[in-house]
Symmetry: C2
Subunit: 377 residues, 2 copies
């Protein structure tokens, strides 16, 4: 088989964008680049469904998560975060470094926090300034219903709702303004279909107000500087120029497809892949499932299966992390994927299962996916 | 004319590297990528002349400057920095944000700090923990003799010597270990010839010892995490994958040319360009000049001259910044430049000067450059 990438970041980059980024480099203080940054700003507003400035940072998504906290909070402030995976945990780690008092909602990996659990934690810690959520927990493939949680919290809670949307934005519905969120971050190598190196962050008016009194130190990630620069289609520091040009094209593709169509396509891919793996007797991991990444329990002879997937069928997938190491595998359908990609990975799964002697009906996975694509018929 | 880029970052990227980066993206937790990161680590050690790990950060150079301070210092620590341009000034700005007491050596823009001035400042502030220098001040085109300053400071001064080498590394001799420096940072879009988005940082044993007691908060820029990851050819956060692959190729080019040949080439380009602009009656700005970027006083009708350079001759050059706005123009010869590039820009300068009616002998600039290339004959 041809090599194929199914990791939840980096995700495949459209060839046209790769070639756009390979054109002779331009300087960032030029009319041409300013126009690209302007388009990126508009496109990100469309993607996040917001009229607030969505700022572009040159960093990984983790940098944007740090920016979210250090710009809106002060040492001694309290937050609630959810530890249901490696990335939810990270909110607590960043908070700890900055002297923010982080109250953890500990739930089993593979499950999602509910609005009731968040309200209960808020009841115990009524003075928290922010609640940090993970819209799609990449390490477990689990979706958190941020919309429902925000709806349950408002209007009673007037603190900040901060969302790691790193593998969710572009894959799941996100309506920053309508849902009354305060900070959402994402990364470039996810739903935005370009290589890693950029992160994006948006703040609500409430969050900007909080930024006024934030005393945590920041320089590179100072969002007041980023906002000021945004107003003139600029960035405070030299941005990753080629990636910005790439994301301008990616955002144009998203607008052309239409954001609701993009969300629906992710739901359809995820649903087909889940149906396919279940049809060949594999056990999905995690509930409710994310539309960005599907986690599946490894079959018996899991190591051999993974090795066949990689070496014989040339599928690069993601393994389990930390406590899920050796227990699950993860397949991305985040960004630039279509029906044929899902069939390709199901072909590889069926074939690798056959190679290791796993009993199933040949073609059952492909047929189940096709049925989803046919709208259940 | 064909469009040509002469800015001190981004600098031109070799076509082969652009196309390397345009190949299908790979995941960062793969053998292939680990090998690239390993090669980058080795190549950076060669470039910085050090046996210490040189770590790769996904950020602009400013991010690496912040990392330099927050990893080695604590609030209340004192430093000395030199304000002789926009980038020297930045050390003081970052320090201010983190509660570091920053003593400024203020010298005229366009000049360089001397060892005597540094020693004098140290005499006044004997308890400083670090001295922050700017090897090549991009805003003024001035070179600071870091080697001489370090030699004058040692062994009496056992604090940290921290160097912004952003436009110097690759253009000027840099011997991190031999010169007994403590931190040096650089960026990807400079002497390393790739697009912006990566920064590089190296710490001495003395600096790592200082890092042990540093209490300033850091997460994304925590270099202990970066060092630990470096040991296994990894990074703590998802790196800018395509740029890492690009810099692996760029470092291979540098090794093939030989680092001393690279330094000598930069000296030759700079010398030829300086001779060329002087020969047509323009006034160089700044002394001693950097071999990375040449600053020149704008001629009369400077605005018209700049506009012709940009629009008629399609040379993207850098303007003066802050107090030098409207007074100078700056031309880069940092990274992927050769003799013909210097002739191209001198042709444009001669032609634009002719267009605005500036009196000079046609071809004098080109001839002066050729004389330098011929070794003065």
């Amino acid at each position: 088989m041809k090599p194929r990438l199914f990791t939840p970041g980096p995700t495949p980059v459209p060839e046209s964008i790769m070639l756009r980024m390979a054109q002779p480099i331009i300087h960032h203080r030029t009319v041409e680049f300013q126009k690209a940054l302007h388009d990126v700003g508009e496109g990100l507003g469309y993607l996040f469904r917001t009229s607030q400035p969505v700022m572009t940072l040159t960093s990984s998504g983790t940098g944007a998560m740090e920016a979210a906290l250090v710009n809106t909070l002060s040492a001694g402030d309290e937050i609630i975060f959810v530890n249901a995976g490696k990335f939810g945990e990270r909110w607590g780690e960043i908070a700890g470094v900055y002297g923010i008092v982080a109250h953890e909602i500990t739930i089993e990996w593979g499950t999602a926090v509910t609005a009731e659990q968040v309200l209960e934690a808020l009841g115990k810690h009524p003075s928290v300034k922010a609640i940090c959520l993970t819209h799609s927990e990449t390490s477990t493939g689990v979706f958190t219903d941020v919309q429902a949680i925000a709806a349950a919290l408002r209007p009673g809670f007037q603190g900040l709702i901060i969302v790691d949307g790193i593998t969710a934005v572009g894959a799941h519905e996100m309506r920053f303004d309508d849902w009354d969120l305060d900070v959402v971050v994402t990364g470039s190598q996810k739903g935005l279909m370009i290589p890693p190196g950029l992160a994006f962050i948006v703040l609500s008016e409430r969050a900007w107000k909080s930024a006024e009194s934030s005393t945590l130190p920041k320089f590179y990630f100072d969002l007041k500087l980023a906002k000021k620069a945004f107003a003139t289609d600029d960035t405070p520091w030299t941005p990753a120029v080629t990636l910005v040009l790439g994301v301008a094209d990616a955002l144009a593709m998203i607008r052309e497809e239409g954001i609701e169509n993009v969300w629906n396509r992710h739901a359809r891919m995820a649903s087909a892949l889940r149906a396919g793996v279940a049809a060949v007797g594999l056990q999905p991991y995690g509930n409710p499932p994310s539309n960005a990444v599907t986690a599946v329990m490894l079959p018996e002879k899991g190591e051999e299966f993974s090795s066949l997937m990689k070496k014989k069928y040339r599928i690069t997938m993601a393994a389990g992390q930390e406590q899920l190491k050796g227990k699950i595998f993860r397949l991305s359908h985040l960004g630039y994927y279509d029906e044929a990609d899902m069939l390709a990975v199901l072909y590889a799964i069926e074939s690798a299962l056959s190679d290791i002697g796993h009993q199933y009906t040949s073609g059952a996975g492909l047929a189940a996916a096709q049925k989803v694509f046919n709208g259940g018929r």
